[in-house]
Symmetry: D3
Subunit: 145 residues, 6 copies
């Protein structure tokens, strides 16, 4: 089971608000996308792969449990869910420090694929050296359970 | 079955790029979040409710089919998936006009809840006048499955 | 007479405000500039030209009829005014959806010129295939009708 | 005849570019809008009025003579065109320092109206103390011609 | 001697660049300012004070050792230098993860003062409960030397 | 003694605020960094050098005397402190026009180095033609005292 990794930590500013005065969900989603990629690159390297370029292919699920407020220090923690031949799935947990409390505000799961930036069309590229056990892509993966 | 509604249309600029030079996924996710809320408010009104304030509670799924590029004109179309007592689920389809082609680049499903901005804690508030058929909130709904 | 084309639609956010708390005119002007170019490219293609690169050469006139507010869904509709050998003039009409009202907030006319991005100095380039009737550029033009 | 006043000076950054790689016209238009208001407030004070809150009501004309580039230091100079009972018209001249050259890149004329931020609906409010000569609003004005 | 605290971690994007194509120093300075305040609030709480509102009063020194690049994951670590009656001085160390290297890119020292947001003029307010040893404000402090 | 040069002038907008509602110090620091570089390039040219590319190497000191507010017109004035073989030190004085007052809000000193953008690693490059008097780099400099 992989540990939580602190991928991003930022403070929320007035420019990040939505018309209701709380933090715009798109700001949180943007950091989730970045955080999963930062954490994912690190997991590929820890698993023995070269540091990949990752492109987002899917967001499996995001749950917004609470509003985030201006002034909150927001933390995006990542954890490996599973790693396949060309794709990696990351869990992203979002916490907000508000006053002396830490609130669990959002939870997400994002899937990335390794891409070869130097080939036309930027095709998917294997994340790990050649001999992952067959079927690794499809198995629910040891990373998660 | 509800029609597609053009909720947002924008052109992608260099400031929207990620380090790979394509459009940052967080930019697309931000517009998806806004588009679903714009479309959702409209669907509530069409169903006979007062125009609600909507807060995002979940992203069920986002699939990024293709990269979006600087200069693309990107369209966020929305369609009602289901409407419950206090929540509404919207499908968001993202298309990019590039040269003379229209590409289907991303697909998403987002859930919003009506909120009462004037009460402390901003509790959920019913979206529709009182007598929706019982169980509407919980039924899987034809829109989705 | 050309129809209105929905070139841009966006929702206004707190980061778009001026010191008075309404939407900064520069934000509206920025979208007008983009909208006219999006609509203009489309008109050139409809008139039989290749999709051009357009650079803004003039804003003939902008009238701000009403303030735009945070939360408004703002629509930039475009219509061909006239098309010449290397330039195209577009009308941009700006509407805001606020609650259940649609307000006509701003009106503009913008002129673009086709540019050749691949030649040094980016000289103007003809928008349409070779045989526009002589004088089309200078006539006040029904270019339109 | 009023002198040129340096209302805004900024340096252009990569985030200000359009898809062609030059500075986005909307960025220039945004600074023009701000510059005219800054210069206009000063002209009202010089003419004996209290410092007003100004809202943009019209852009009479903008001419883009040349592209602005990343790294250019851009100057927005303003000059009074005319001042009426509740409105003021400002000329804005835009210059770019590029290497050891100064280029005249854009020219604009913008009209503002004094607004009373403390009254509902923010009605227009006189810019000058009570006794401007009758008809000042409509005369072509000494400021300009 | 206080430990390093990870106050901010972010990834650098194309919109953060200067005209030379590296990351704009102002972006780094902005995060340094935020990081010192985040770390400073925490240090005040650890020293027994209530969580304060901190306003920046001085940057003692910033040294830029290396350029930061697009795609770098940049970390702002903070450490207490000294805490006085109403002010707190924080050291901020900036590291960039680039490929498999971690580079020490910038070093800074920033001073904040506690402010009372609810009093007119927002006067300085004591950071710690009443009895710090006399002269704590002026002594060079154990934190630093 | 060198004169003050108006390097940057801008108006502060709501998007520039911190969670306390005043202008974020990072915004001021960003403009200081740009202003010193703009003023520094000019000083190098006035001293007989070619217009250099300048990279920030240090902020010697910044003092924030007063908060800056939304709507303030803020001016960044620069003055040469000293110029050495490859580095130049600039003083930056920040003033805010608020109502009919001009407030001295911030003071800074920033050091830049000339860089050769066309060589790998972008090494420092001499700012002035070859024969500066020996020791010019280390002397406190005529520019300042």
């Amino acid at each position: 089971m992989s540990d939580w990794y602190l991928a991003i930590q930022v403070v929320m500013m007035p420019r990040d608000t939505n018309p209701h005065g709380t933090i715009f969900g798109g700001v949180i989603l943007s950091y989730i996308d970045q955080a999963g990629a930062i954490g994912g690159r690190r997991e590929v390297a820890r698993a023995g792969g070269a540091l990949p370029y990752l492109a987002t292919v899917a967001v499996n699920r995001v749950e917004f449990h609470r509003s985030v407020l201006v002034g909150d220090v927001v933390r995006f923690l990542t954890r490996l869910v599973r790693i396949g031949r060309t794709s990696i799935t990351m869990q992203v947990r979002v916490e907000a420090d508000r006053g002396d409390q830490t609130l669990h505000v959002t939870e997400a799961e994002v899937v990335y694929v390794g891409v070869d930036l130097n080939s036309p069309g930027r095709p998917p590229t294997p994340l790990l050296p050649d001999r992952p056990s067959p079927g690794a892509e499809d198995s629910p993966s040891q990373g998660k359970s």
